[in-house]
Symmetry: C2
């Protein structure tokens, strides 16, 4: 039996695992200290009342013969697919509920969708980049072409004339940089993809943090995207579903290549390799997307964004350059030379855990990511500690 040797080409350690080891070491060294995590993007506010109520009600349904549900549809239940389509409508994106596939989260399907593409495609990913885009392709033996984000392009690069790509990852609001594409800049990618027959994989996991109504929350707010883009979204950050696991993937029926609908291949993939998301979880997700759930989760996001404002204020006062901090749960600050050195310094001097930019690719070096998902109390405490840090 031969192993998949592509795995040996993966870098030694997953970013957050390395950080976890460093934090564990620190905890052992200074047992009493409170370490504030502004590192991994994990939510801390509890499930909204609407979602928890729906979970309990669904548990009731499942425990009674008459309302018990066995296998559900591979694509997800229609009640949730329709809720998703209605949700898109609230911000002006046109998505057919029949094109919505319910997933266990954006991370899962970002990998799974690769199944339907041939081996010899050129994949382009942003740099800095969410490592999953690159690692899943390495596992398949594919090298990735990088599209560099930098200060000059505001970390929202557009296609260059030289770019030769078949599959393009775009994440907006971006992880790790917090940058958000404007409609104009996103349109350049949609046009590029349609002209070349490429496909965009649009990661919209942080769309709920966009409050500027002029910025697109979905790629489907751009004309032509329905012919070239798959969108992956998640309730993880929208509704604290990081540990609940539910999202969706939109594969428009109008996205065809060589006369084949990508959606048909995707449905075949899903029906063969997946048995749908738990019914009770789908009920909780639908509750999030109903009026009361949206109101409740919006209030939670408001609280997270206040954390961002608190941190951003200190950085501004200290003259630290950063991106994000609004319309996004991330703050991407310029930290100078080595971002791992900065990580060690920040943990040492302030007991704050962030994520070194270098962990997101070569173009992330010199930057550092903070997230807003802690408590308000922690944000205030972190701000006080940051005031004392020398950023030079």
């Amino acid at each position: 039996m031969k192993l998949n040797e592509n795995y040996f080409k993966l870098k030694d350690s997953y970013l957050f695992h390395t950080i976890a080891l460093k934090v564990e070491k620190r905890r052992k060294e200074r047992p009493g200290e409170k370490i504030i995590s502004l590192g991994i993007g994990d939510t801390t506010r509890p499930l909204c009342v609407a979602a928890a109520d729906a979970l309990r009600a669904a548990a009731d349904e499942m425990s009674v013969k008459e309302t018990y549900k066995g296998y559900g549809p591979y694509e997800g239940y229609d009640f949730l697919r329709e809720s998703v389509a209605d949700y898109y409508e609230t911000f002006g994106a046109n998505v057919d509920s029949g094109d919505v596939f319910i997933s266990s989260g954006a991370k899962d399907d970002i990998s799974n969708i690769l199944d339907v593409f041939g081996a010899d495609n050129v994949v382009a990913a942003p740099n800095p980049v969410y490592p999953v885009y690159v690692d899943t392709n390495v596992m398949l033996g594919r090298e990735t072409t990088y599209i560099e984000g930098n200060e000059a392009n505001g970390f929202t690069p557009t296609p260059s004339a030289r770019l030769d790509a078949d599959i393009i990852y775009i994440c907006s609001p971006n992880n790790p940089t917090g940058a958000v594409y404007t409609k104009d800049k996103l349109k350049r990618w949609v046009d590029y993809a349609n002209e070349r027959g490429a496909v965009i994989l649009f990661d919209a996991a942080y769309e709920a943090f966009i409050r500027d109504r002029s910025l697109p929350r979905s790629v489907y707010e751009i004309d032509g995207a329905e012919r070239c883009a798959v969108e992956l979204c998640s309730l993880s950050k929208t509704a604290g579903f990081t540990g609940v696991r539910c999202g969706w993937t939109v594969v428009p029926k109008t996205l065809e290549r060589g006369g084949v609908k990508l959606k048909d291949l995707w449905l075949r993939r899903q029906s063969t390799k997946f048995n749908g998301v738990s019914y009770v979880i789908q009920r909780a997700a639908a509750a999030v997307l109903a009026e009361e759930g949206l109101r409740q989760t919006r209030a939670d996001i408001d609280e997270y964004m206040k954390n961002g404002e608190i941190i951003a204020k200190v950085l501004r006062e200290k003259g630290v350059k950063f991106f994000g901090g609004e319309n996004s749960p991330y703050i991407w600050l310029k930290c100078g030379a080595s971002s791992w050195d900065f990580f060690d310094m920040l943990l040492d001097k302030a007991g704050i855990v962030g994520t070194p930019g270098a962990g997101f690719g070569s173009a992330g070096e010199g930057y550092f990511r903070l997230t807003v998902f802690g408590s308000g109390e922690d944000a205030l405490e972190a701000a006080e500690r940051l005031k004392k840090v020398d950023f030079q």
Copy 2:
């Protein structure tokens, strides 16, 4: 962008989809008729009280800040991994909780585990076969070698001297044939795999139906399996979790090839492409595996198995040859020439839906699968209708 052309080599339609279309047509033709489904293996008995209570309690936990859970471990929570190891201990299999990976069900991981194997392995699957084993390999561009089950070997074939395989699927109790490997016969596969450096993918999804204590419920009841076998299991049939989605995959740390632990690659795969199973679902699963949950789900399985006895009795009376019907949720009956013709006849004459053996591969032709997952009332009604069917 190039599509994965292997998808075009897949057979046109997924078995159960074709059946669903035939049933839909029939419903339109005879709107008043009650169709009894003994087709797809979907559970109908509600969640046990222990599982539903655990779900509700977990929803409570998730709705309070102090007990809220965000991202969980990729491998699953230790409380559940330990429950799984304890469960194995109840029937004498030795599994280390650290080797247990919690999954969204056996179907998912039967496909996912293929990620860690190289492209040029020879895959051997039983014939008749659960189509997922074959289709997931076709999607990867792999052809499958078949190991034929038949009347002579009781549908539990053993390795022939000619067999040259790197990855071997074994399903026991078998879907679709209901046949169960004895320890002796299973040992021959374990020895084969260890001698050749092959890997066994052991699908134990129906183990809870084994009541004969001399039959192995886990491959790890066989000496040496910890060096060659991955086991995939599920609570779908054990606890009515078809719509809840939870199972597990055991990748023993002692399973090494070329000095590499398969488990290390699998953990890398999971941490990159998966974010774990919902916390609330893992709590429900742990409740199933606790003493009270095991008692309750065993009572449900008893009820299902009574259905099997009712159907088996009629078949015996009518002199129809069959396999399974005990230690298994499947009855695999010899139906003569064309199993699709038999399907049409049975739907036409008795309003009963089963699954044609041909849908499980060439060696399934001439056979027909019935399942026990309906209600007791339906089993009695089906038995009455079967009495009137001419099986010749």
